[in-house]
């Protein structure tokens, strides 16, 4: 799980161009949208691409991803249960 979390963070930093961020700076439980990492609706769509590209998980819409994208922990949890690659 630890390894998956770290990998996810690196993939997110890369895909969302979080300039100057390191995985250590992202709190596993902090909200990704709004106050936390400050991601927005375009980033949410980008997270859907990450899940598809690296883990073979297809979400239909950002609404479907709402619960999944709460925090790094919630994404990791979902990926572990649903990944096809």
């Amino acid at each position: 799980m630890e390894e998956l979390i770290n990998k996810l963070k690196l993939q997110i930093i890369d895909a969302l161009n979080l300039e100057g961020m390191t995985p250590e700076e992202i709190d596993n439980d902090a909200p990704l949208f709004g106050d936390g990492l400050g991601l927005d609706s375009i980033d949410a769509l980008e997270l859907i691409v990450i899940l598809d590209k690296f883990y073979g998980i297809k979400l239909k819409s950002p609404a479907e991803g709402k619960a999944v994208f709460k925090s790094i922990n919630s994404i990791a949890d979902y990926v572990q249960k649903n990944r096809t690659k």
């Binding site: 300039e19 375009i42 980033d43 769509l45 691409v49």
Partner: protein, 565 residues
Amino acid sequence: MTRIAATNITSPLGLTTAENYAAVKRNETGLKTVDGPLGVPGRFCVGMFSEERRKDLRLEGFSWFESLAIRSIRDALRQTAVNPASDRTILILGTSTADIEELADTPEKDGAFLSPGEAARKIARSLGFVTEPLVASNACISGGTAQMLAQRLIGSGVCDTAVVCGVDVVSAFVLAGFDAFKALSPMECRPFDIERLGLNIGECAATLVLTKDSPEEEGWRLVDGCLNNDAYHVSAPIPSGDGIRRTVVKALTPEMKDKLACVTAHGTATMFNDQMESKGIADAGLGTLPTTAYKAHFGHTFGASGVVEAIITMCSLDEGLVLPVRGFEEPGVSGRIRVCDALETTQKRAFVKTQSGFGGCNGALVYAKEAVPEKPMEKVSYETLRSVRITPTECVLDGKAQPFASTGAALISDIYKTLLADGSRFFKMDMYSRLAYVATGLLVKDSLQGIEPEEVALFVFTRNGSLLADRKHLSTFSNPEEFYPSPAVFINTLPNVVLGEIAVKNNIQGETTLVMLGERNDTLMEQIVNVSARATRPSAVIYGWVDCDAEDSFTAELKLMKITK
């Protein structure tokens, strides 16, 4: 005021205005469900010409995009005595992505890729135009923007005739991008309906020949219009619909408001657009008029939509009719508007056309079948408040070179980190957008106090626009095995989106317009800004040239001007 001397629509529903109107009136659609259109994996409902028809209509030596535009313009010109070879006649294209498909290495490719400005030149030359063509590229409101530029140039006496062609074609580029945005409906779109799932992409060229008005002539006029930015988010409209409300209110005089037969809405059938548009229309006081929309006939034809949809309403009002919205059954928006659900008759001969697009831009254009008094376009005077020039080796602000050791792409990041660092989407932008963002940010920082947000206008001129983002977007899905288009990259392929970024960060709520030219031309830029300032009378205008053809090859030169009325 400008008179509409002739029109054409070239779409899958027909090759003339009459054919298209007849098809819409019969409630036909050009939308079809296609498996893997243009190599994009998946099932899509699109408004495309079939492969055979594309082949038949393709002109030799021209791309599909160019062919569509030329066919449409040629048919419209044929109906008039307008001489394209006059130095008083200009061609203005309204397009969101122009010839982007030619950038990819497709089997259909027919020559080198041309930037939108260069493609416009090729189209203009082939039709005999001798003046420099303009390309308005304001995403989904490009067609409305092109018409407003035309009206200003005619109204101020710069030219007598402006041929406006709104044109966009379906491409893998745009399909992949909107698919990544989860904005596409797998079925025919259903504007304003409770079960709407998103938009369908369509292709079309639609032309208006606009000429200097003469009151004794009959026919339709482009009466007035307003463009603005809602300064909310680059890809989501302000939920209150306030941007649309403001454009509509500003575009309409009380007399004209009473003359309206209907509202021709953007009605893309996305959740967000239709919801906010319903609120904007209702809050502008037009909720009791029938609202119509045609996206379920044509799909979303982007740059063409603001032209083709206006033409269809002119045709229907010519017959005293307001056409029902195809695909609409049960209201699914909270703004109290009256979506037209059955054929209506009317004695009135005027309407307003609304449109909204990525980059936060909104437009409302008013048309009437009568001569109305000319809007005065008095002269304005300018005072340069600030200026900026950024090249790979220097950053000069108000004539003073700024002390940066870095060069090239690093210089832009350093300027941002040192002087702006405003927590924006800067690091998610392509190089052209970063450059425009930084240059404009430096100009307006602490300079707009005391000026109403609606009173600030922004005009950016470019040649290559989003070329680098375009290439990057293509690379995210060029391999069918690795088909993962990125929404964050795609959004930057619209060259006006950075204007939205700037508007959001600096709360600029006036007009934000992007114009693409074949090459830099300062005289032409100043002329366009000047006629726009005379027509819309903002208090401040930011304008200039921003261009980037490689990570380390770019120029931005902009000014902030105060306007004395």
